[in-house]
């Protein structure tokens, strides 16, 4: 019997009431995050990855949003808790890292002040001790000369350094779970690698689990143990990272993987998935990916369920035999 998962998301649905009707940003998302596990959520822009994560912590503030489903964190339902009840969880047991480090910090306070604010909120340390911890954390995330940097303002840091500050903040209260929303998207490539390494190293030190949201398969390959592929607010494939990269089952995952530029193969053009992501306002009644899928069949007018064995599920009507032939054809182009 494996130990209970740290985070258990069941049938999470987020919809917004708009003038054009209900917009389902997240539609029936379910996944688990085990102890010390790194789960990657991957999908195009607008696939509902960020909204799903924000809704769990009550960070979706729009009044016209309806959130249903269940999110168990350490066995406790956290969906629908009030701001007050969520306070000890936010920043305490769940730390968050945001996409854009340039705007994620309050511009008028020093980074030390902002770290101390969070540390004192959750750990109730005296000021001097909290400051000491802030300096330690800044050192741990690789900020040179943390003793003097602690009194600097966010605008005096570069993007990568700011993201380190945000990471230090997220880790400051030893969270059980770290949620990273596109943590490297706004950074340049060399900084990206450093930040990912840093997160892996810290995950090891702090024994926390990580949910990392990204649209970059490279980030997934480097970080994730398990991957949730999302399309139009729905999970289309969930598998262990190695299985997903080696034996992807869903046509959308094929598209994502084939679109990764490779240095060892010479293509005239990068492969793309044709068409654009569908608007969640007018989803097709069946499979949401059908309008862009090369292998669309009559059956696709009905919505496929997530199915497969326990470790690898996907939502597609293609039979195993069909998939094998299709992939062989793709991998050995004539």
């Amino acid at each position: 019997m494996p130990e209970a998962p740290l985070l258990q998301v069941r049938d999470l649905t987020v919809s917004f009431a708009t003038r054009q009707g209900a917009l389902r940003a997240v539609d029936g998302l379910s996944f688990d995050v085990g102890q010390k596990e790194i789960v990657g959520i991957v999908g195009e822009s607008g696939s509902g990855k960020s909204v799903a994560i924000y809704s769990m912590l009550g960070l979706v503030r729009e009044k016209n949003a309806t959130i249903t489903g269940s999110v168990l964190f350490e066995g406790r339902e956290i969906l629908g808790l009030s701001d007050k009840e969520l306070q000890p969880i936010r920043g305490g047991s769940i730390g968050m890292i945001f996409q854009d480090p340039m705007t994620a910090l309050t511009p008028v306070y020093t980074v030390g002040w902002q770290l101390v604010e969070q540390i004192r909120q959750h750990l109730h340390l005296p000021k001097a001790a909290a400051r000491q911890r802030a300096i330690e954390l800044l050192g741990q995330v690789g900020i040179p000369d943390p003793k003097s940097r602690v009194d600097r303002y966010p605008h005096e840091f570069s993007g990568g350094m700011r993201q380190r500050v945000v990471i230090a903040m997220a880790l400051s209260c030893n969270p059980r779970l770290l949620i990273a929303d596109e943590p490297t998207t706004a950074l340049d490539v060399t900084t990206q690698a450093q930040i990912l390494d840093l997160m892996l190293k810290l995950q090891d030190t702090y024994d926390s689990s990580i949910v990392i949201i990204t649209h970059d398969m490279g980030v997934i390959a480097e970080m994730a143990h398990r991957v949730v592929v999302m399309y139009a607010g729905r999970p289309v494939e969930i598998a262990r990272e190695l299985d997903l990269v080696r034996h992807p089952r869903h046509p959308y995952t094929w598209g994502l993987l084939d679109a990764v530029p490779r240095l060892d193969a010479k293509h005239d053009r990068l492969r793309t998935i044709r068409g654009n992501a569908v608007s969640p306002l007018n989803l097709p009644p069946g499979c949401a990916f059908a309008p862009r899928c090369d292998y669309v069949m009559d059956q696709c007018a009905q919505r496929p369920p997530l199915q497969g064995d326990a470790d690898h599920v996907d939502a597609c009507w293609l039979s195993d035999a069909q998939r094998v032939t299709i992939r062989q054809r793709v991998e050995q182009p004539s």
Partner: protein
């Protein structure tokens, strides 16, 4: 920070010098105008004109004329009016200034408190009834002209209900703080409220807009994800950043009001402040007094702006580097 303050005030002094020069040039070096005739006022005798020309060195080079003028204004302070013959200009201004300062500072305290409170309450209750309600009162206060509101106040407090609920309101006019603090307060209470109404309305509306923007910023989401209380997010993060624009607005308004823009309120309530002084001197074409008032007004506008810039740098660390 100290370097910033020193630099800012040094530049304020430079600006004041530039203003004094341009004011001087406008009054004394406008082509085709005889400054002696202007200073001496309408239908002055040849004798007076000659006296003026001698006093201000009108036949000497420009820099010396400038120096003589500044000497009369600031050092000897013996600049006299030729309309009300023999009345000195500088004492008139120093007499009027405390009245204007009392009026504007008191009103500023009221409008800042009411405006910030209104803006915060409205922004914190977006979408509920109280939000549009406060904003409606705000727009009403902005729309009502000060002279009308002042007259209505006077009508209510001085005649209509003077024998009943407003029996404690003294007649229009001014009593200095040193004479009687309580009388000073009572005389200024309704002028304060009248002047503050307009600005409280503007500030509440501006602050609400700023706060609503700030509450949608990424750093507010970060603050919430840190587990801070909604109150702390609102006051320590969103409000703190929104105050920056309020402060710059305040500097401009405050400087202009001290410099004489509170004229309408002063006239309605019979307060002989700087606005009133400027107004009468303009009607009489009393050039020396006009010059004095312009210099005085410029001084406060520049000073208020310098103070605001320093405050701005204190509130927003990004400004300090520039």
């Amino acid at each position: 920070m100290i370097y910033f303050i020193v630099r800012r005030f040094a530049s304020a002094v430079l600006v004041l010098f530039a203003i004094s020069v341009s004011v001087f040039l406008i009054f004394f070096a406008t082509p085709g105008v005889d400054p002696a005739a202007r200073i001496a006022g309408r239908s002055a005798s040849a004798q007076v004109l000659a006296h003026v020309a001698r006093e201000f060195g009108l036949n000497r080079p420009l820099p010396i004329r400038y120096w003589l003028m500044m000497e009369h204004l600031f050092i000897k302070q013996d600049l006299t009016s030729y309309v009300n013959i023999g009345v000195r200009v500088v004492p008139q201004i120093t007499q009027a200034a405390p009245i204007t300062l009392s009026l504007v500072i008191g009103a500023a305290v009221i409008w800042m408190i009411v405006g910030v409170l209104g803006g915060v309450v409205a922004a914190a209750n977006q979408g509920k009834f109280i939000d549009p309600f406060i904003m409606f009162i705000g727009i009403a206060a902005v729309s009502v002209p000060a002279y009308w509101l002042g007259e209505v106040m006077n009508l209510l407090t001085q005649s209509k209900f003077h024998s009943s609920i407003f029996a404690w309101v003294p007649p229009p006019g001014y009593v200095s703080f040193t004479t009687s603090p309580s009388e000073w307060f009572l005389h200024l209470l309704f002028p304060w409220l009248t002047l503050a109404a307009l600005y409280a309305g503007i500030y509440a509306r501006v602050l609400r807009a700023e706060l609503v923007n700030a509450l949608n910023e990424d750093y507010v989401r970060t603050a919430r994800a840190k587990g801070l209380s909604e109150r702390r997010i609102l006051f320590r993060h969103a409000l703190r950043c929104s105050l920056i624009s309020i402060v710059s607005l305040f500097g401009l308004d405050f400087g202009a009001l001290i410099g004489g823009a509170a004229l309408l309120t002063e006239v309605v309530f019979g307060l002989p402040g700087v606005g009133m002084l400027t107004y009468t001197s303009l009607q009489n074409l009393d050039l020396p007094v006009i010059m004095g008032c312009v210099m005085y007004g410029a001084f406060f506008v520049v000073l208020a702006n310098a103070v605001v810039d320093v405050l701005y740098a204190y509130l927003d660390p990004r400004v300090r580097l520039a």
